[in-house]
Symmetry: C2
Subunit: 321 residues, 2 copies
Amino acid sequence: MRIGLDAMGGDFAPRSPVQGALAVLPALPADVQLVLYGQRAAIEAEAASAGGVPPGIELVDCPEVVLMEDHPALAMRQKPHSSIAVGLQHLAEGRLDAYISAGSTGAVTVGSIQILKLFEGLHRPAIAGVYPVEDKQVLILDCGANTDSKPEYLVEFAYIGHAYMKAVYGLENPRVGLLNIGEEPSKGNQLAKETHAMLQKHGHTLNFVGNVEGWDLNRYAADVFVCDGFTGNILMKMVEGYYPYLKKILPYTPELEQLNFERVSGLPLLGVQGNVIIGHGSASPQSIGHLVHNAQDLVRSGLVTSLPPLVSGIWKAEATQ
Amino acid sequence: MRIGLDAMGGDFAPRSPVQGALAVLPALPADVQLVLYGQRAAIEAEAASAGGVPPGIELVDCPEVVLMEDHPALAMRQKPHSSIAVGLQHLAEGRLDAYISAGSTGAVTVGSIQILKLFEGLHRPAIAGVYPVEDKQVLILDCGANTDSKPEYLVEFAYIGHAYMKAVYGLENPRVGLLNIGEEPSKGNQLAKETHAMLQKHGHTLNFVGNVEGWDLNRYAADVFVCDGFTGNILMKMVEGYYPYLKKILPYTPELEQLNFERVSGLPLLGVQGNVIIGHGSASPQSIGHLVHNAQDLVRSGLVTSLPPLVSGIWKAEATQ
């Protein structure tokens, strides 16, 4: 298994990705090869204190760097030799099994659509956030791959979220909830109401448990929380900001670590033809290590191979109702 | 000052409102009169263990009860003798200075629009959530008075949120942020982008600090977070669910109380011609006491009298740009 890692992505690049790669290397199984993508000189300078890039890590020199201010839709064309473009290209060609980047979410998302392509039958990809609740996980999607959504996008997210929790976390029949502002089907904005009506028609394949609300996240009321990317992004960032705040105002206890969102996972980009994991922009070296483990789990889950038949059946299932 | 309290509202009514009223009574200033609205028999039965309703509390018998399943738009007409309808009517007639209800948010909101009316010049009211950040407060609005919003609603919410933080918390020039999924003006869904452009034109009167994100709540990056009611409601309920969760998984320390959302405040309904406070559905007797104090602060702030000239100037200000 070959896992690519963007050395130029994130607020603390190349430090975090390079130090994270060096730290996680000894823990990798023999069949896992780590490949760093980025500017050779910057990576080697960062690794110098540890005696240079070790032979266990491959390095692919990518002279260009996608910046946060680059326009996501143009970045791949303008910077085809960037770590994001080259890494995704290698993933598309089968030279990698997964690619990890904590760089510009927009560029990684658009790049994945352009280079890897969506599975046939899908309108849009979704960024999924894994939210820890005690010893379990709740998937929130979309966490921001899309700004304005349509009901059919959300139905598709429900399917790929359901498949993800099944494949990666081994749940037999994950419960899918629609994030909304009331329990009753009539509640919500126009998007939520229309989505609810559509999801009910897919109840037989989706284990749809109906509307769920903000407080239901910590009550573990569903395994998959489906929402539009605007709501999901705000929610995910709210949660991301909570842990550092709690560390600041509460006396430290080991239990606090349960609330470390970053500890759990990166954000898989679901719906594209390849295993892509988006790291949090603030990713630390330690969390880069977690991302590498996430990537292995995602590859081993076989999710990407299970999606095509599922995805192609979504709207057929409704047609036969 | 006369403060009305709905004895029939909330998940634990009449227990919470009645016990809360009894508990807060000794702490009330001499010029504050508490008035309970609800079914006399139910209130008296609840107060029996404390020796009955004390002479310091007035009781207005309201034989009808608005239930959670009642349609908000029809509730006032179908149940004109309910605690919500009678209390709001007394507020409109000047027989009360404020009315508190932890009952159906929809019914209280629609009832307030129908009975109290909006200030002239406003399209919609907003439910404001007061979120505690260390020893400060952040106002999130709208927390659910509206499902689908238009940019001009959000501009109006910015004005009334700004006025609220000024009047009630004494901030000289509260910072107004637009809750969004990126810092740049070009980020966001259609509603956020259009709202951002409008708010920029009001920067001279509003102290508009631009877009703020989910993590900016705990960073205290603005005093007022403006958003649509769908997003705000989900966020507020997420926060509401966080405190009981933290109490469950963390060892108890006094600092945890800082995270008790309910401790801080109810949800003022802003934009209607009267002081209305909506309590959390799960309101405890203790939090009912806080609501009574909130109501006094709101009345003393003079917000309701300061709003008409402000509100009538919102769109004039833009026209003269």
